[in-house]
């Protein structure tokens, strides 16, 4: 049983099951902890940056520079009354925020954050689903990218069911808009990544990053010759997938109050909020893995610094991406709904198909 379990988990013989589980649990705890901290402080950053863009201060009262604001918000969310309106479909009403948050947090498990790290006698890849094979080579799930896309596409259920089970016009309209938008832009998002897959020749996120290590000229965004177009498509589709301005019609407050989470309060609302920001982080991670070279960057100094610097470079890319989100939010107005759909189907989709054709030609000519 033990032997079989260790084979099922993909371990080599020198590592026992207890050690494997311990390493896995530590990795999960650290990654989820860091992710939730990033989520909380993205909200703070957003309020601060948008505030400064609009000539305001943003949060200043709680702690220095308002740094404890996320903590105060968290306590407030937990202490607020958890109101379930009458006439809702109770089961689905409770299930929806859970689905949204679970799907948003799951995809981070597949993201390769850094190369191997060695602590004492244990060497492990900095990635929750990464394992160490017999010859000290990190192994990754062969279809990591597909799993992320699948999990992201399941996230729509949370939003759709929230809107439907609330039994309210605004919620239903918001959910319909959100799901239509996410289905439409998922196509462009998926197709924009096909070009990168053709250049890298693998679905494994770790392999994709390893092919881009070295100078910035090895990054997929430059290396493919044409992938900068794919990056543009990905960027647009990512804004739409995460329901952010300028594509946040699902929660256009002037028309729909708050969209699909109008009827939610307290921690259930907070779960949607966290899911939205966690999705932003996932999309940023995927962008840096697929286009911007993952954790590649200069590594120097003592061993401890050498193993931590790649993580820092990775997080720096994620930070830039989130800052871009906030910057766009502070700059652009919202699209009209028909413009949004027209842009997705009539511009992004043909462009992404053209990108696949051209990339295919380039790959065939190089081979």
């Amino acid at each position: 049983m033990l032997r079989e379990a260790s084979l099922l988990l993909g371990m080599h013989d020198s590592m026992n099951v207890g050690m494997f589980l311990l390493v896995a649990i530590i990795k999960i705890a650290i990654t989820v902890g860091v992710l939730l901290t990033i989520v909380a402080y993205s909200v703070w950053l957003e309020r601060k940056v948008v505030g400064h863009m609009q000539n305001r201060w943003g949060p200043t009262r709680v702690g220095p520079f308002g740094l404890l604001q996320p903590l105060a918000d968290g306590i407030k969310f937990i202490l607020k009354e958890d109101l379930t309106p009458p006439y809702v479909n109770r089961t689905l009403f409770i299930l929806a925020p859970m689905l949204a948050l679970v799907m948003a947090l799951t995809s981070i498990a597949l993201v390769p954050i850094g190369p191997n790290i060695t602590i004492g006698s244990v060497t492990t890849p900095i990635q929750i689903t990464g394992v160490e094979t017999a010859n000290n080579q990190p192994a990754d799930i062969g279809i990591g990218l597909l799993i992320i896309l699948g999990v992201t596409s399941l996230g729509v259920y949370g939003i759709a069911l929230a809107g439907w089970s609330s039994n309210s016009k605004y919620s239903l309209l918001g959910a319909l808009r959100a799901s239509a938008q996410m289905i439409s832009y998922e196509v462009a998002l998926g197709l924009s990544l096909v070009g990168v897959l053709m250049v890298s020749g693998s679905f494994s996120l770790r392999t994709i990053v390893e092919r881009q290590l070295g100078s910035p000229w090895h990054w997929n965004i430059f290396n493919g010759g044409w992938q900068i177009v794919a990056f543009f498509i990905y960027l647009m589709a990512a804004f739409a997938e995460t329901n952010r301005i300028p594509f946040d019609l699902a929660e256009a407050e002037t028309e729909l109050v708050a969209g699909y989470h109008t009827e939610y309060s307290s921690m259930k609302f907070a779960m949607f909020f966290m899911a939205e920001y966690a999705n932003m982080v996932t999309v940023a991670c995927l962008a840096s893995v697929m286009f911007l070279g993952g954790w590649s960057g200069p590594v120097f100094g003592p061993p401890i610094l050498q193993s931590l610097l790649p993580i820092l470079w990775f997080l720096a890319r994620v930070f830039c991406f989130i800052f871009l989100y906030i910057w766009v939010r502070g700059t652009l107005p919202r699209f009209r709904y028909d413009q949004l759909m027209g842009f997705g189907w009539k511009f992004l989709l043909p462009l992404s198909i053209a990108n696949i054709l051209v990339t295919g030609l380039i790959v065939a000519l190089r081979a």
């Binding site: 079989e4 279809i143 597909l146 799993i147 699948g150 729509v156 239903l172 319909l176 998922e186």
Partner: protein, 166 residues
């Protein structure tokens, strides 16, 4: 052993979801049961070593087709279905026919084909390169014919949808 346990869990979820799909009277509950069925099917594919098919199953069926089902149910705001009395012919002929068909299929599968055995993560044989070789080398013509068929179906759907609006 662990494979058997996982298989039993997901098979039970799959069959339970399918039965629930038929029993539920509200379309959205039925659709959600179908999501459960497709999801657990994907995990059974994964247990058989077909990781690519499993991922595509989730993306296409659970992530796209069923989302559209639920979208339509939400859009039409379909209410609970009324139960019909049920037809006597279906019970008299259908149930024995179903049992006969299932047992024949089980017998054929159990005697003709060896068990798939279990696979180890990292040594799956249904990987993306393997699938690609099968589709674009060994079964190139059927694959391309299927894609043309799907294209025709899409164009037919577009034509049918446009006819009403003009």
């Amino acid at each position: 052993m662990s494979h058997l346990i996982l298989f039993l869990i997901f098979a039970a979820l799959c069959v339970g979801g399918a039965i629930n799909l038929l029993v539920q009277r509200h379309p959205i509950n039925s659709a959600l049961s179908l999501v459960l069925v497709t999801g657990s099917l994907a995990l059974i594919y994964l247990l058989l070593g077909a990781e690519f098919v499993a991922a595509i199953q989730i993306i296409i069926y659970a992530g796209a087709v069923m989302v559209l089902f639920i979208f339509v149910i939400m859009l039409l705001n379909a209410g609970a279905e009324e139960e019909t009395k049920g037809s006597r012919v279906a019970i008299l002929l259908g149930v024995p026919g179903l049992i006969l068909g299932l047992s024949t299929a089980t017998w054929v599968l159990a005697t003709r084909y060896p068990g798939p055995g279990s696979v180890i993560i990292g040594q799956l044989h249904g990987t993306a390169p393997g699938m690609g070789r099968l589709l674009f080398r060994d079964f190139l013509l059927p694959f391309e014919v299927t894609s043309v068929l799907i294209l025709i179906a899409i164009m037919g759907a577009v034509v049918l949808a446009r006819r009403g609006s003009d």
